[in-house]
């Protein structure tokens, strides 16, 4: 157990530079990825709100919920 931890520790502290998406960030292209995800997230949220609206309408027709918050 101790050996595993020690070896892992030395592994983490190795001098070789760890590859990260630095170039992606330098080019600023990561923002395109985040923007794309934000578009998808916004689309999904609009869709779920659309479903909420439909459901609330049905519930009102059937007089299920006295509370107007959904």
């Amino acid at each position: 157990m101790t050996f595993t931890l020690l070896s892992l520790n030395s592994f983490v502290q190795t001098d070789a530079p760890v590859e990260m998406a630095d170039i992606l960030r330098q080019d600023g292209k990561i923002y395109a990825v985040v923007l794309g995800l934000l578009v998808i997230l916004t689309g999904l949220i609009f869709f779920i709100l659309h479903v909420e609206r439909k459901l609330t309408k049905l519930e009102n027709e059937n007089k299920i919920n006295a509370d107007s918050r959904v």
């Binding site: 985040v34 934000l38 959904v70």
Partner: protein, 226 residues
């Protein structure tokens, strides 16, 4: 309710805000530089909350099942079945994200890791819950049998996913002789995003559960009037 406008419940609004924070912070905030993991460490923000979400929903499901056995109120059975459905989806998503992560760090989509196999077994147990429900016609019989089965499935899930992998050798953090994800705690921004992501995805799960339950309630009403 007037017009087509809807007023969202407070926790749904918070869920939306937290989701945006997760997506932006999860990709742009700094993460520790760890060999082999590299940028894939960011999958932690999306893989781990799936399991927390699954556990939350399966827990709500078994609570409703036990409630049903005491109350015989069909509404409790609806709560149990719809919670389990969303929990199952989260479990599948957790497995899929885990497989992608495993491919890029451990070298294979599926390893003989105890946690992977046990989780697959646990999800199959829940799949059997839906098969059981689908195979029974009588509502009361379906509710009672599946409530009892759900208790069994949950009691199997806990040791399979949370206890046994910790006693065996496993590639997962905190299992076998591995350090936990406390390794990541050196990074403050990681802590911020992971807690936000957990809350956000639990919110998503609760939201989906809420929608499924309301559909079920409407359907029951429809069955009664016809």
């Amino acid at each position: 309710m007037p017009g087509n406008r809807i007023r969202l419940k407070w926790w749904k609004i918070i869920t939306i805000v937290l989701l945006y924070y997760t997506v932006i912070g999860g990709f742009l905030l700094p993460v520790p530089r760890i060999p082999i993991l590299n940028e894939s460490i960011r999958l932690f923000y999306f893989h781990f909350p799936m399991w927390i979400g699954m556990t939350l929903l399966f827990t709500l499901s078994i609570i409703s099942s036990i409630k049903y056995l005491r109350s015989q109120n069909i509404k409790d059975d609806d709560l149990a079945s719809e919670s389990a459905k969303v929990g199952f989806v989260f479990g599948i998503l957790g497995l899929l994200t885990g497989m992608l992560w495993a491919r890029s760090t451990w070298g294979a989509f599926w390893t003989s890791d105890t946690k992977l196999n046990n989780t697959a077994i646990a999800l199959l147990l829940y799949a059997a819950y839906f098969v059981l429900r689908g195979s029974l016609q009588d509502e009361i019989q379906k509710a009672r049998l599946s409530a009892v089965y759900n208790t069994f499935a949950f009691l199997a899930l806990i040791p399979l996913v949370f206890i046994l992998p910790r006693m065996n050798d496993s590639l997962h953090p905190g299992n076998g002789n591995n350090p936990t994800f406390r390794l990541f705690d050196t990074s403050h921004s990681m802590k911020l995003v992971i807690y936000t992501a957990i809350l956000a995805f639990c919110g998503v799960g609760m939201w989906l559960r809420d929608i499924l339950i309301r559909i079920k309630t409407l359907r029951r009403l429809d069955d009664e009037t016809n």
